[in-house]
């Protein structure tokens, strides 16, 4: 019969065989991803944890800081200044009569600073000269110390301007009003969360990919597959596609959580978001495959992935530390960290909007790094053992 005749020739054209092998590999990999709790963990649970940490836990903003306010002499004017401190959104104020009441609290860290309005405060203030207040801070925590000092000065400055205006019945001569564009609330969450999405894609693209290939070596399945007509390119491609999709899925989840739960604004376009993310996944996957070609052991692969992809994405990408303030040699190293091209663009997508000239430049650089890594990975993946 005709079917038999067809089967009898048995000549599968090469492209068909290739396509079928490729789809078989992709299907296998996808089934494994779905069934393997560790890929779900890395692709969906870990990102959630990271987002929660960056969304709630880590904040570079000044929120209400506890201070002790000492009013040595409760004159009306001192109480007026005290009221300004109490009204400040930066301080949570406990008041007292003697600085000794707060000394222990400062040592134990229960209050971050002591502001003293001295006995002679009224007179000096009335004379119109600069009033003297004392700010005591814990120098072992310089960030907080600076913060308390500056904001206390700010409160006093504002108070003085108001007093002057009240006395003169006219507005103060000059005042500086700051305005921040794009992130008017100056919420660090708004740029930390987009940055952490880059970290998440690094985890999926590089760490997970290098782990699954190493696992195939450890379990001996790689050897069995290599002894079939499958080619090295097909093996690589069969790994790339599923993890590319997984990376985008993981990124999408992060964006949804960022926008709907953390209230991070999304001012750019979805197209820009996916174009940037997809371009970033190229170098991330390329690096994962290169690592797995070099090591056939899950432990080593995870160490290499963490050192060469995860940490640089954290430290050398401008995510947490300003690249411009790094030593020049480190700045050169950052130019090959793909995350440094993604993070500013991604932050723009969220808080500013589409800036295509910047996006296109980033995409071009990321794709170039990706191509180089893929070429290296393909060259080092041969159908050979040992």
């Amino acid at each position: 019969m005709s079917t038999e005749a067809l089967v009898g020739t048995k000549e599968t054209a090469p492209p068909t065989g290739r396509a079928r092998r490729f789809t078989a590999l992709v299907r296998k990999e996808s089934l494994q991803v779905i069934r393997d709790p560790s890929s779900i963990l890395i692709a969906f649970v870990l990102p959630l944890i990271l987002l929660v940490i960056f969304g709630y836990g880590v904040s570079l903003d000044a929120t209400r800081t506890r201070i002790g306010l000492v009013i040595e002499n409760a004159t009306p004017i001192a109480q007026d200044l005290a009221a300004s401190f109490q009204a400040s959104r930066y301080f949570e104020v406990a008041t007292g009569r003697d600085r000794r009441e707060f000394e222990e609290g400062l040592i134990l860290g229960r209050v971050r600073g002591i502001v003293v309005i001295p006995t002679n405060f009224t007179d000096v203030g009335a004379a119109g000269s600069s009033p003297q207040i004392q700010v005591i801070v814990d120098g072992s925590d310089p960030n907080t110390a600076n913060f308390v000092q500056n904001y206390a000065q700010g409160v006093v400055g504002t108070w003085m301007a108001q007093r002057a205006a009240e006395i003169a019945m006219r507005p103060p001569p000059i005042s500086v009003e700051q305005r921040f564009w794009f992130n008017p609330e100056l919420a660090s969450r708004n740029f930390l969360v987009p940055g952490s999405i880059a970290i998440v894609m690094t985890l999926v693209g590089t760490l997970l990919t290098s782990l699954v290939v190493a696992r195939e070596w450890e379990r001996g399945t790689m050897e069995a597959m290599m002894a079939t007509p499958v080619t090295a390119t097909e093996l690589l491609a069969g790994k790339i596609l599923p993890y590319f999709i997984l990376g985008l899925a993981s990124m999408s989840l992060c964006v949804l959580i960022a926008v709907f739960i953390f209230g991070v604004p999304f001012r750019g376009s979805v197209l820009a978001l996916y174009a940037l993310s997809a371009s970033f996944l190229m170098p991330a996957l390329g690096q994962g495959l290169l690592i797995s070609a070099a090591t056939k052991n899950q432990f080593l692969a995870s160490q290499l992935a963490l050192l060469s992809a995860f940490l640089p994405a954290f430290l050398l990408s401008g995510f947490l530390f300003e690249i411009n303030s790094m030593p020049w040699i480190i700045r050169i190293v950052t130019t090959i960290v793909p995350a440094r091209y993604l993070i500013p663009s991604l932050q723009s997508v969220f808080v500013a909007g589409d800036i295509w000239p910047m996006f296109l430049r980033s995409i071009a650089v990321m794709l170039t790094i990706g191509v180089v890594l893929f070429i290296l990975a393909a060259r080092s993946t041969r159908k050979r053992i040992g």
């Binding site: 296998k28 001996g220 050897e223 069995a224 290599m226 050979r384 053992i385």
Partner: protein, 576 residues
């Protein structure tokens, strides 16, 4: 038939600066028969198979597979062969059917042929009921059959099987052998690699490898013919057979001797004993009869004979009163459950002083679980275990000090050198000062470690590793020795040397518990317990167990026959 499928010419492969893994190996594999690639672990079997698949290239020499050179045409070879690596190459998180589909796609099996091929292979491997089950949830035997099915999808001309018999129960092993034998009738060439010499015996032809060198190529009977008429069974022994074995091995012209149940198996260098009489050595009732030679007899003869019967280790040991006290190792109703899985159920036995007791069974049957409960490494769910009178639950430390433990695959510290390993284990077992130095010096002398004291344990050849593991286990002169798969994969000479030491120590009053899946090794024991699916299904001396399954068709069953028959009976009893 008879066409040469693989031609090896002067194949050499080295890894690093060590001795070559394969040294100028030449030979051939023919279609339509099973060729055994035989040799102990580390002989170069896996390397040779990988070279044939083209996944590795030889340093020098040439390999032609089905007419293709592995250097130039690996892709054509890979399209035409079936290969089952040691761990079967299955995806454990894919189901049976998904594994088959994957390999069918990779091997380019046309869609139209699939239903028929799948049906045939699933019937052939008896896996039809399990197509939806994840491969990771299959038993060892079933995994192996699925691995074979995946290698057979696109009917290969040459089938390469790397140690298919390892870790599989004897019944599955026989099933698999029958399947593979069937394939050869269709002209397929099969390479079956193994460290078991009884498997080698059943092959049509063998390539015998030892330390990377090809010792022999030809039919098994050609090999055994070199010892024809020189193999004997010394039976009717009066008294203890171990000292008698030692005595016989000291006689002129004795090439090899091992304990076989109540008797001793001997290989002589002449058709009859020269200058000694069985009666003088083994008592008035002793008889010596010729018996059929086996592969192992010939292998040992070829390697220049066994190591002799004297154990310096035993000579240096202080004798213990063999009649003193009751049982040294006792198990009463030992049961271990992991969740709803019962790994060992109601295991009971006791071992009197100076005896060897064996736990025999396939991997995963519950031997190691029982074993670990008895040396205090696992807490039993129910039941109790005692060593030298100490309850393992209450007096764990006292009990452990009385026992020496040699773990599967010799748990030495690979990055420590030989001297450091000895010093470490001496410390662990509570030796110190002059006592420690003395014992270490003694072990160094007995086992001849002087020249290798500075070598890392991981770089030692398998045989030396095993010696070192034994030395570490007996440093503190334990009353009881626990040996977990002590000679799995080692060459027969090393195995004999090991058992000479154990036999000697037992004669001095040491009590031994050994686990093994080697049927031959079970013969060295005084009594054995057959462990199958977590239960002890039979207990007795090797001869008793063999006799219990003797039938008119099989009057002289081997240990493996006994095992298979007893497992069948147990399955039948369970089904009833």
């Amino acid at each position: 038939m008879g066409e040469e499928f693989v031609r090896l010419s002067d194949v050499t492969k080295r890894f690093g600066s060590a001795a070559p893994a394969l040294d100028a190996v030449s030979g051939s594999i023919k279609g339509g028969e099973i060729t055994g690639l035989v040799g102990p672990d580390g002989a170069g079997k896996t390397t040779l198979i990988r070279l044939m698949t083209g996944l590795m290239l030889p340093d020098t020499g040439r390999i032609e597979v089905l007419g293709f050179d592995t250097r130039k045409d690996a892709a054509s070879i890979q399209a035409a062969i079936g290969y089952m690596p040691q761990r079967f190459g299955l995806y454990e998180d894919l189901s049976v059917q998904e594994n088959l589909d994957l390999y069918a796609d990779l091997r380019g099996l046309p869609l139209a042929e699939r239903p028929e091929v799948f049906d045939e292979l699933l019937t052939f491997t008896d896996l039809k009921r399990f197509t939806g089950r994840l491969a990771g949830k299959l038993s060892g035997g079933m995994k192996q059959k699925l691995g074979l099915a995946c290698a057979l999808l696109k009917k290969p001309r040459l089938l390469l099987l790397d140690e298919p018999g390892v870790g599989v129960d004897p019944i599955s092993r026989r099933d698999l052998w029958a399947m593979v034998e069937n394939l050869t009738k269709e002209g397929i060439g099969v390479l079956w690699s193994t460290a078991y010499l009884d498997e080698a015996e059943a092959c049509h032809r063998v390539l015998l490898l030892n330390e990377g060198k090809l010792l022999f190529t030809g039919t098994p009977s050609e090999l055994t013919s070199r010892v024809d008429g020189r193999v004997f069974r010394l039976g009717g022994i009066e008294g203890r057979r171990r000292p008698i074995l030692t005595k016989v091995l000291g006689e002129a012209g004795v090439v090899d001797g091992v304990i076989q149940g109540e008797a001793i198996r001997l290989v002589l260098d002449a058709p009859e004993p020269q200058g000694w009489k069985a009666k003088d050595i083994a008592g008035k009732g002793a008889v010596i009869n010729p018996t059929a030679p086996r592969f192992e007899d010939a292998f040992v003869d070829m390697l220049g004979g066994g190591p002799g019967g004297q154990s310096k280790l035993a000579d240096a040991a202080v004798p213990r009163d063999r009649t003193e006290g009751g049982a040294v190792i006792e198990a009463h109703g030992l049961t271990k459950r992991f969740g709803d899985f019962t790994a060992a159920s109601d295991i009971t036995f006791s071992i009197p002083r100076g005896q060897i007791f064996g736990l025999l069974g396939p991997n995963g049957a519950g031997k190691s679980t029982t074993f670990k409960m008895l040396c205090g490494l696992l807490k039993p769910t129910e039941g109790e275990g005692r060593v030298a009178g100490f309850d393992l639950r209450r007096d764990t430390a006292e009990a452990r000090n009385r026992l020496g433990y040699m773990a599967q695959k010799f748990s030495l510290y690979g990055d420590l050198n030989v001297a450091q390993n000895l010093a470490f284990f001496a410390g662990v077992y509570g030796l110190s000062g002059a006592g420690k130095r003395e014992r270490i010096a003694l072990m160094t002398e007995i086992f001849d470690f002087r020249s290798i004291l500075g070598m890392s344990a991981k770089d030692l050849p398998l045989g030396l590793k095993q010696r070192l593991a034994l030395a570490c286990a007996v440093l503190h002169e334990p009353e009881a020795l626990f040996l977990d798969e002590p000679t799995s994969g080692v060459d027969p000479i090393t195995r004999r040397e090991f058992w000479t030491h154990i036999n000697g120590l037992v004669e001095k009053g040491v009590t031994v518990l050994v686990t093994t899946h080697f049927m031959d090794e079970a013969e060295y024991c005084d009594r054995i317990s057959l462990i199958y699916r977590g239960r002890s299904i039979a207990l007795g001396s090797p001869d008793e167990l063999k006799a219990s399954v003797a039938s008119p068709e099989n009057p002289d069953p081997t240990m493996e026959d006994a095992f298979i028959e007893l497992v069948r009976n147990s399955d039948l009893a369970e089904a009833a």
